[in-house]
């Protein structure tokens, strides 16, 4: 189907006028796996209002309104600033106390298998409920939220989608609110970037267009695929396998507390009524429920965190589950000098110090920046 041999042979001709396509045939094949972008948006069958324009608008309004908080102190947007790629520039957000983890960006969340750093939800509407109920965040209750909603600005919009409020138990109102927030968040998708233009040109066989992608970024991509083996976890169009790993980042919270990561996430998930396998899913076929039905707990879960997407990554600093690395350069240096003493001998075998040169680090950072719309 693709004539890579011909394409590669064209490199010399292309480079005479433009830059070069530096990738090998195998690297081009791997590069195509990062697209196309954006993916076609499918509605979530577990959420009856997914894709509904009224729900998206109402969910967006609720997202920005501190009314969801028990005392009007916080909105979702307080820790997920729309103007800051739906995260915050601080390492960790200040709720009613300093929270344990970095606020993840809320872009490109539709259709994931797990949500949150610890994966305590298997769907976006359930993930949206946690901050509403968390004592350190909005600290609300289903009962209080129903009372507030019933007498307020949003009741008409809610009832148009879900029917009369008065007849609904508070928990149902809460879950429906999560579904409104999810409908809105599903629309938060990063735009195609310079990398996507490169990738799409390669798919078309348009080496002239592809050659305009900076050589430094191509060298970084080669490291990403090869020597760095970043692709092992950061794979697919989202640049994430969406699973849980020990990236060698310490996870102490204080002198006597640690963040258990996936271990605690699984405990929450497996006791939650708000999964794709539960009664609150609107999908009679229970699509996607296989994951929560089959997931197994492991000792290796302790202190592991979900692989973040790299889409728009240059806009979401600081990095890692605790926001402990201030920029992309620091992230690469972390993996460059990773402390294997921290890792189990039979654990994350893929990790070893990358030992990249300064020039290679710069190339890798240049590549990662092309996954964002930011221009130098």
């Amino acid at each position: 189907m693709r004539h890579w041999a011909v394409l590669v042979a064209m490199v010399v001709q292309v480079s005479a006028v433009h830059g070069e396509v530096l990738l090998s045939e195998a690297e081009i094949s791997q590069t195509l796996s990062f697209g196309p972008w954006p993916p076609s948006l499918e509605t979530d069958p577990s959420n009856r209002v997914s894709g509904d324009s009224r729900a998206i608008a109402l969910g967006g309004a609720l997202f920005r309104d501190p009314i969801l908080s028990v005392d009007g102190a916080f909105s979702c947007a307080s820790c997920h600033l729309p103007e800051n790629a739906f995260t915050i520039p601080q390492a960790r957000a200040l709720g009613r106390a300093m929270l344990d983890r970095n606020s993840p960006s809320l872009r490109n969340l539709a259709g994931l298998r797990w949500y949150g750093w610890g994966g305590k939800s298997d769907n976006l509407w359930a993930a949206s409920l946690h901050p509403i109920l968390d004592e350190l965040e909005m600290a609300n209750t289903a009962e209080n939220w129903k009372d507030v909603l019933q007498g307020g600005l949003y009741s008409r919009g809610y009832e148009a989608l879900f029917g009369p409020l008065a007849a609904q138990p508070p928990e149902q109102v809460l879950v429906n609110t999560g579904k409104l927030l999810a409908a809105y968040q599903e629309t938060l998708v990063t735009a195609p970037t310079a990398f996507d233009a490169f990738r799409d040109a390669l798919e078309r066989g348009d080496l002239v267009a592809a050659a305009s992608y900076p050589e430094t970024a191509q060298q970084g991509l080669q490291l990403f695929l090869g020597e760095g083996n970043c692709v092992f976890c950061h794979s697919g169009p989202r640049f994430s396998n969406n699973e849980f790993h020990d990236a060698g980042v310490p996870y102490f919270l204080s002198e006597t507390e640690v963040d258990p990561g996936r271990f605690a996430g699984l405990q929450t998930l497996l006791s939650s009524p708000y999964t794709l396998n539960g009664i609150w899913s609107d999908d009679s076929q229970k699509g996607g429920a296989w994951a929560v039905q089959s997931v197994r707990q492991s000792h290796a879960d302790f202190g592991t965190f979900r692989t973040p997407s790299l889409r728009g990554v240059a806009e979401t600093m600081p990095y890692m589950h605790d926001g402990s690395l201030k920029d992309l350069n620091a992230v690469i240096r972390h993996y460059n000098e990773i402390d294997l003493d921290r890792m189990h001998a039979d654990g994350e075998a893929v990790l070893s110090p990358l030992e990249l040169s300064e020039r290679q680090i710069a190339s890798l950072v240049a590549f990662l920046k092309t996954l964002s719309e930011i221009r130098e």
Partner: protein
């Protein structure tokens, strides 16, 4: 968050008989603990002792890189700690130690000044066992009749018993082998015990794996549990691990459950 009840800690500390306790309070002999250089800095010995007591850990086989951690814990919790001497000064030596002759000096110096029940946990695969450093280490253990806590494959295990047929060996993580392979090794060597550290497959979603259950029933006196505190933060997994162990052990007969929880390890030590 992960703390056991005060009642449990008090009962465990008092050495109450297991049969007097509810299953959820079954004492644990944690046969795979490390307290290495970085953990010493981040989790003080007194905090470690509290974690062990809160988790209902009656005894713990502790080896550390370097040995300073084990000695600090011996001072903080002498009633719990069973000392083992690890041939590493830092954890990062686990792939290279068998080619470093200074390891022998380190072992001899510590053996001369401290008392141990075991040497290990040491990592060795296949013909690593034939290296002069490991052969000398085995001689040191033999001279003192110390247990060898071995992390490695069956080939290395066979070579250990070739070198010292009467050795008492604790096979860390049971070699990451499947139950049938572990049973085969236990069938082959009467003085081999199997630790289950960092193994999760024995039970899942509250149900014990039938193949593992069969292995435990074939060798009810040879298995034991362990947490493996390979990074400082893992100390905070000692409690959850003890709970996990109690949960799946409760699906075995009370006698086998007690054996795996603590009695097998105690008998292994007494077999000297």
């Amino acid at each position: 968050m992960f703390r056991m009840s005060i009642l449990l800690a008090a009962l465990a500390a008092s050495g109450a008989a297991a049969e007097d306790l509810p299953i959820e309070n079954r004492p644990i002999f944690d046969a795979h603990i490390h307290y290495s250089h970085d953990a010493v800095i981040q989790v003080p010995p007194e905090q470690v002792a509290k974690i062990l007591r809160d988790a209902g850990v009656r005894k713990a086989l502790v080896s550390s890189s370097d040995d300073n951690g084990t000695q600090l814990l011996m001072a903080a919790a002498p009633d719990i700690i069973v000392p083992a001497l690890r041939p590493y000064r830092r954890r990062g030596e686990l792939n290279t130690w068998m080619h470093d002759e200074t390891v022998i000096d380190y072992l001899e110096a510590n053996l001369a000044k401290n008392t141990y029940e075991a040497i290990g946990e040491f990592h060795a695969y296949g013909s690593d066992i034939k290296t002069p450093v490991i052969q000398r280490m085995i001689e040191l253990a033999r001279a003192r009749n110390l247990i060898l806590h071995h992390h490695g494959d069956r080939a290395a295990l066979d070579l250990i018993f070739d070198s010292w047929p009467e050795a008492r060996v604790l096979w860390a993580h049971s070699g990451f082998e499947d139950p049938a392979s572990v049973v085969d090794a236990l069938d082959s060597y009467p003085s081999l015990w199997a630790d289950l550290a960092f193994r999760s497959e024995m039970a899942s979603r509250g149900r014990i794996n039938p193949n593992w259950k069969a292995a435990f029933e074939q060798h009810p006196e040879r298995f034991m549990v362990g947490t493996d505190t390979f990074a400082p933060e893992r100390w905070y997994y000692v409690g959850p691990h003890a709970d996990f162990s109690r949960e799946w052990l409760s699906q075995l007969s009370p006698e086998i459950a007690d054996n795996i929880a603590f009695a097998n390890a105690e008998r292994m030590l007494a077999s000297k």
